[in-house]
């Protein structure tokens, strides 16, 4: 089983190296997609032992993920894990997230911070995320507990089917739409999410929610 970890990173020079080192022994290949960072994210990742793909322009997290997934598929990965560059996720949980794929019967594993009973999620964050979960479940028809989580693992089959067209943050909803559309078998796995000052500063703001909804609407109308 060849496992690739894809980490989209935009201006994460302070965290990316430690994240790469933490996940390195969990997979055959760590791919960092440097999404047009103005700092030395790419250099840091490379020195820490990752293959680095560089977007020469910032195209957004969705675009970076798809670039990394394309590369993983080209390298014949059987399992592709998506992971965050900001140190919010626990590398030790990768095994747990990948496990259902190895056991079989599942195409994609979705991390959920809300399945973890004692997770420390700031209140404002919790409200916004729950709202996002509710809206996303409503229009995808899935029943998930966490829809905007960067921790996923997918089989080669799922990765080949899913095509991320949403360059920005709307990709999270888009992936779920396609899970539904292609009837991919999914399972949610509880994962830990660490909230540090750094991750909160780098994280998504509420105002982005409107941009995401707008992007999803435009995509529908424009197709």
């Amino acid at each position: 089983m060849m496992t690739s970890i894809v980490i989209p990173a935009f201006n994460e020079a302070t965290m990316v190296a430690s994240v790469v080192r933490a996940v390195k022994n969990k997979a055959n290949q760590v791919i960092v997609v440097d999404d047009g960072s103005s700092d030395d994210t790419g250099q840091q990742a490379k020195r820490a032992g990752a293959i680095v793909l560089t977007h020469f322009l910032n195209r957004g997290q969705g675009a970076a993920l798809q670039t990394g997934i394309n590369f993983a598929l080209k390298s014949n990965a059987d399992i592709i894990v998506t992971f965050d560059a900001d140190g919010q996720l626990n590398a030790e949980e990768i095994d747990k997230v990948v496990e259902p794929l190895i056991l079989g019967g599942v195409d994609i594993v979705l991390g959920s911070r809300f399945l973890k009973p004692n997770s420390q999620i700031p209140v404002a964050k919790r409200v916004v995320l729950k709202l996002a979960v509710w809206v996303t479940n409503l229009y995808t028809g899935l029943k998930l507990t966490d829809t905007h989580n960067g921790f996923r693992a997918m089989s080669r089959l799922a990765a080949e089917k899913i095509r991320i067209r949403q360059d920005g943050m709307a990709h999270a909803s888009e992936i779920l739409e396609q899970v539904k559309k292609y009837r991919l078998k999914f399972i949610e796995v509880p994962i830990t999410m660490y909230y540090t000052d750094y991750s909160i500063r780098k994280g998504q703001k509420l105002s982005n929610a409107f941009r995401i909804i707008w992007a999803l609407i435009i995509d529908r109308v424009g197709r």
Binding site: V30, V33, G36, G42, K46, R47, A48, G49, A50, I51, V52, L53, T54, H55, F56, L57, R59, A63, Q66, T67, N70, F71, K74, R165, D167, I218, D219, V221, G222
Partner: protein
């Protein structure tokens, strides 16, 4: 009326710019003719607005000026829509280019 003078001056300016662009070869003679006709009609509607009422009343709108506003809004909506869709496409194309170079110039780990 001052507004008429302003509009006519603007149309003269547009005529002049269009001719310059035609001379430089930026637009074809067909585009030139279409633009000239369009702006000529605008000039006519500005100078004798009463005449436009005939057209608008035939369509069921009382005043020609109102009809022009309605039409402009429709055309503008349509154009904005087209531009948004076009922008989306350009965005996707840029991503394709960026992705391709990223995949071609992959850098191997140093350790």
């Amino acid at each position: 009326m001052i507004i008429k003078i302003i509009i006519i001056l603007f149309i003269v300016f547009v005529f002049w710019r269009t001719f310059l662009r035609f001379r430089k070869g930026d637009i074809t003679s067909r585009e030139l003719v279409i633009w000239l006709i369009f702006w000529f009609l605008v000039a006519a509607a500005t100078l004798v607005p009463k005449k436009t009422d005939a057209v608008s009343q035939w369509l069921g709108v009382e005043r020609g000026a109102d009809l022009l506003v309605y039409l402009s809004v429709i055309v503008l909506f349509f154009l904005v829509f087209k531009i948004i869709v076009r922008l989306e496409k350009i965005d996707r194309d840029i991503t394709k280019v960026v992705r391709r170079t990223a995949l071609e110039d992959k850098e191997d780990p140093e350790s």
